[in-house]
């Protein structure tokens, strides 16, 4: 009457969540920012995105095959695409093809597969690759194209786009300039005050909406925030890491701006610039490389924020999100070891709670 069922434990029903669905939701949430990046920087940006994804997928296939794992199921879980996608969003949109190809391959092979594949990596693969690229190819990684909206007059057409990405480009120096963060850093080393260097270079509204030069998916704080809200609403991420990161950046920048407004940018400047938004919602929240307890996530997020601001302010590089995330990734196992939730019926130290006389004798 009933089919013979295997001996199997509960639960026998399951929440709708799945790994591929999670990955797909993150992709979907970053689509507005990515779409805007492709629109703003035209064909070369799209080319770079596709090259990075292709390189990551090929590397993933190679890694899975060498590890003797089932290729098809793991390749299409969405994780490799997502890694490449997030990496591409942090690259200069007109970077040459080999930046994307190397980055995609590095992220998957060194960042993920050598650790044992999905879920095993210590560092966020995309950020590890970005850091490696930045250190190895500083020129290509800091050449920022000015906005050249797709199909707009004066923007590269499809063929020119191919030429820009794949090498025989007309020199793009004339079409590029420093990012706001880079400009401020350079100006500071030349002895200019902040108000001097920001004049004509930074307007909060531009920075929020994103019609400025920068990484492919980082320029529009509003669109990244929109994606972040979707991730929160879908419960793909929790709010602790982004909020802790924003709070740390805002607190430090606010404090130092108050001390010396001509030296230190204010909170809005820091929060809306560079990769702060993308980093907080899409990068630092990577589940694999962030702590699993809520208190651990507070520490991790605050650390990411503080390091980002410190590197931006006193470090050698204008932007610090990637370094900050990778550094905090290294601390994640330590945080996870020491910061655990309190177990029911036990103190934080792990000892059983002592019943009080009142508990024993009177009804609550």
């Amino acid at each position: 009457m009933t089919a013979q069922t295997p001996v199997i434990g509960g639960p026998h029903v399951h929440a709708p969540a799945s790994v591929p669905r999670t990955m797909a939701m993150v992709l979907l949430a970053s689509l507005p920012a990515a779409g805007f990046g492709v629109y703003l920087f035209g064909w070369p940006a799209l080319n770079l995105l596709l090259v990075t994804i292709t390189a990551a997928m090929l590397s993933e296939t190679l890694g899975l095959w060498m590890a003797g794992k089932p290729v098809r199921a793991s390749l299409f879980d969405g994780s490799a695409v997502l890694t490449a996608w997030l990496l591409a969003l942090t690259l200069p949109p007109w970077a040459p093809w080999w930046i994307g190809a190397l980055g995609g391959a590095f992220a998957i092979i060194i960042g993920k597969q050598v650790f044992g594949g999905i879920g095993q990596n210590l560092f966020n693969p995309a950020m590890l690759a970005r850091v490696a690229l930045l250190i190895s190819f500083p020129l290509e990684m800091t050449t920022w194209a000015q906005p050249h909206p797709l199909l707009a007059a004066g923007s590269p057409d499809f063929l020119t786009g191919l030429a820009i990405t794949f090498g025989h480009a007309p020199h793009i120096d004339g079409m590029s300039s420093a990012t706001v963060l880079g400009h401020v850093k350079t100006a500071f080393t030349q002895g200019h005050t902040l108000s001097e260097s920001l004049r004509g270079h930074f307007a909060p509204a531009t920075s929020l909406l994103g019609r400025t030069n920068g990484s492919m998916g980082e320029t529009s704080a509003v669109l990244v925030l929109l994606g972040g809200v979707l991730l929160l609403q879908q419960r793909i991420i929790t709010w602790h890491i982004p909020l802790a990161m924003f709070a740390a950046i805002a607190a430090l920048s606010g404090l130092f701006h108050w001390i010396d407004p001509e030296r230190y940018g204010d909170a809005l400047f820091h929060l809306s610039s560079g990769g702060a938004m993308l980093g907080a919602f899409f990068i630092a929240t990577d589940p694999v490389t962030s702590p699993s307890s809520v208190r651990g996530q507070w520490i991790f997020g605050a650390g990411c924020g503080a390091l980002t601001w410190i590197i931006r302010t006193w470090g050698g590089y204008p932007e610090g999100v990637a370094f900050a995330v990778v550094l905090m990734n290294a601390l994640t196992p330590l945080i996870d070891h020491y910061v655990r939730p309190r177990i029911y019926g036990r103190t934080r130290a792990g000892a059983p709670i002592e019943p009080t006389a009142q508990q024993r004798e009177t009804s609550p």
């Binding site: 009457m1 009933t2 089919a3 013979q4 069922t5 295997p6 001996v7 199997i8 434990g9 509960g10 639960p11 026998h12 029903v13 399951h14 929440a15 969540a17 799945s18 790994v19 669905r21 999670t22 199921a73 879980d77 994780s79 594949g117 999905i118 879920g119 095993q120 929790t238 589940p287 694999v288 490389t289 702590p291 699993s292 307890s293 809520v294 996870d336 655990r340 939730p341 309190r342 177990i343 029911y344 019926g345 036990r346 059983p352 709670i353 002592e354 019943p355 508990q359 024993r360 004798e361 009177t362 009804s363 609550p364």
Partner: protein, 486 residues
């Protein structure tokens, strides 16, 4: 008093309730089946010992097997009829292994055994109540099936001030407690008052999930006359029905690790157990039937049935009809219920539901590697790190898993339920708990052996020493004698 504290516990999950198909349908009696199969073990503890043999005619409510030892429960005849055999029969257990079972053929006359009136339970000595509850074969009817009398006796050993009555019914599909509370609230409240007396407790707190508004209303009305019986609507959050979590939600207190709720003066019983206590003490009826929810997507007409214990699951499914062959047949709810090997197993005292799930409902998906998303951490009502425990249990590192709090896990399955990688976390933990228990037992045995060996060595040494001393004394005495005689 204004309650500022939220009535909840850490974590928890919100599985789809699926209760609407049965929560508005009255409890219906199931007609007597052709045969009843009464296992001698329907409870936690020692199996009962049969006192009838094939060919005996028995009356309804007559004792068939008496309890053995302190933690055990007797078995009674669910109806009048003839014992056709006492032999092994498939148990209501995932293993499908047989247990000793009394097989009864009803005569259809439902003749009760004559029983003397036992007196008013509310004036009876408290110990007497526990004895009678034990004699009625009552066990925890929420599913755990722990002999109820043992838990009613706790009051004599330590002060119990609060009786918590569990009307949570947090498992999806199940509505048997809901219907019982809606239809028989006065009987339940009476049972609660009898249990209060048995425990010597002063307050009863009845917790009902807020997805059962009719049950809350009915119980509140029935309890209105008794100022020490309080009904509280608690949030619908799985595993609210877990004893520790219910105490936390209701009182904000936690049962200390490794202790019982009685150590903080509380005892938890299920609403159906209270109902059974009422029947036993007021109507002199032992536990011979129970309400069972028959549900799940594969069932044509889901309903709550009042079922004589020992009825085959197949009889229940026949009564409700099947739309399709179930992909999985469960005793209990879909979160913690167990898979039945087939439908030819009897309903026992702890069977609160028979759930026949379709393939879509089971939604079995392939397991993937953990992506450390931490959903299990957020879902765990015990504050554990399921992902870390599973990573260790999986590699046989039982002590590593224990360091992460394995023994504090209540096996509720919230972690498995939310895991996007479909990792059967709770199965790892159940395996590891078994391995840990074996390990501890082996260690205990080895220690015991070592102790006995050491004692034996010491004893032999002592004997040797005593002998040596005796010999020396004899020698001395002989020498003295020789000296004397010389």
């Amino acid at each position: 008093m204004i309650r500022l504290r939220r009535l909840r516990f850490r974590g928890g999950v919100h599985p789809e309730g699926n209760k609407q198909s049965t929560s508005n349908r009255e409890i219906e009696p199931l007609p007597l089946p052709a045969r009843l199969y009464l296992p001698v073990q329907q409870h936690i503890g020692a199996p009962a010992e049969p006192i009838v043999k094939a060919g005996d005619h028995v009356l309804k409510g007559q004792l068939l097997a008496h309890s053995e030892g302190a933690v055990s429960a007797p078995v009674h005849a669910s109806t009048s009829g003839t014992v056709v055999a006492v032999e092994p029969f498939t148990a209501s257990h995932a293993s499908g292994l047989p247990v000793r079972t009394i097989i009864l053929e009803p005569d259809g006359r439902e003749i009760w055994e004559e029983r003397a009136y036992g007196g008013d339970p509310l004036t009876m000595p408290p110990e007497e109540i526990a004895v009678r509850v034990g004699a009625a074969g009552i066990v925890g009817m929420g599913g755990a099936a722990f002999p109820a009398a043992v838990k009613l006796n706790l009051g004599s050993r330590q002060a119990v001030h609060t009786l918590v009555i569990n009307g949570g019914e947090c498992e999806p599909y199940l509505t048997c407690d809901d219907r019982l509370m809606q239809e028989r609230p006065r009987e339940i409240i009476d049972g609660v008052r009898i249990m209060l007396r048995a425990l010597g407790a002063d307050t009863a707190r009845i917790a009902i999930e807020d997805n059962k508004p009719y049950a809350v209303a009915a119980m509140t009305a029935a309890a209105a006359a008794y100022p020490n019986v309080h009904v509280t609507a608690v949030p619908s959050l799985y595993p609210m029905g877990s004893e520790k979590q219910m105490i936390q939600a209701l009182t904000g207190q936690e049962v200390p690790a490794g202790k019982l709720s009685a150590d903080i003066g509380m005892v938890v019983h299920n609403v159906a157990t209270a109902h059974a206590v009422h029947r036993a003490l007021r109507r002199e009826q032992p536990l011979i039937s129970r309400i069972v929810t028959v549900g799940g997507g594969a069932v044509a007409t889901p309903r709550n049935l009042e079922v004589p214990l020992g009825t085959l699951v197949s009889d229940l499914l026949d009564a409700c009809g099947l739309k399709e062959t179930p992909a999985r047949l469960l005793a209990g709810g879909p979160m913690m219920g167990m898979v039945l090997p087939h439908a030819r197993v009897p309903v026992v005292k702890g069977t609160n539901g028979i759930i026949a799930l379709t393939r879509e409902e089971v939604s079995a998906r392939a397991e993937r590697p953990c992506i450390r998303c931490g959903r299990c951490v957020n879902a765990c009502p015990c504050g554990l790190l399921p992902l870390e425990m599973a990573a260790r249990a999986r590699h046989g590192d039982i002590n590593g898993a224990a360091d992460y709090g394995l023994t504090d896990c209540i096996s509720c399955g919230s972690c498995s339920y939310v895991c996007p990688a479909n990792i059967p976390l709770v199965q790892y933990f159940n395996f590891a708990k078994g391995a840990l228990a074996t390990q501890r037992e082996e260690k205990r045995r080895a220690d015991e052996t070592r102790r006995l060996a050491a004692e034996r060595t010491a004893r032999l040494e002592a004997v040797k020493a005593a002998r040596a001393q005796q010999a020396a004394e004899r020698k001395r005495a002989a020498a003295a004698k020789a000296k004397e005689s010389a």
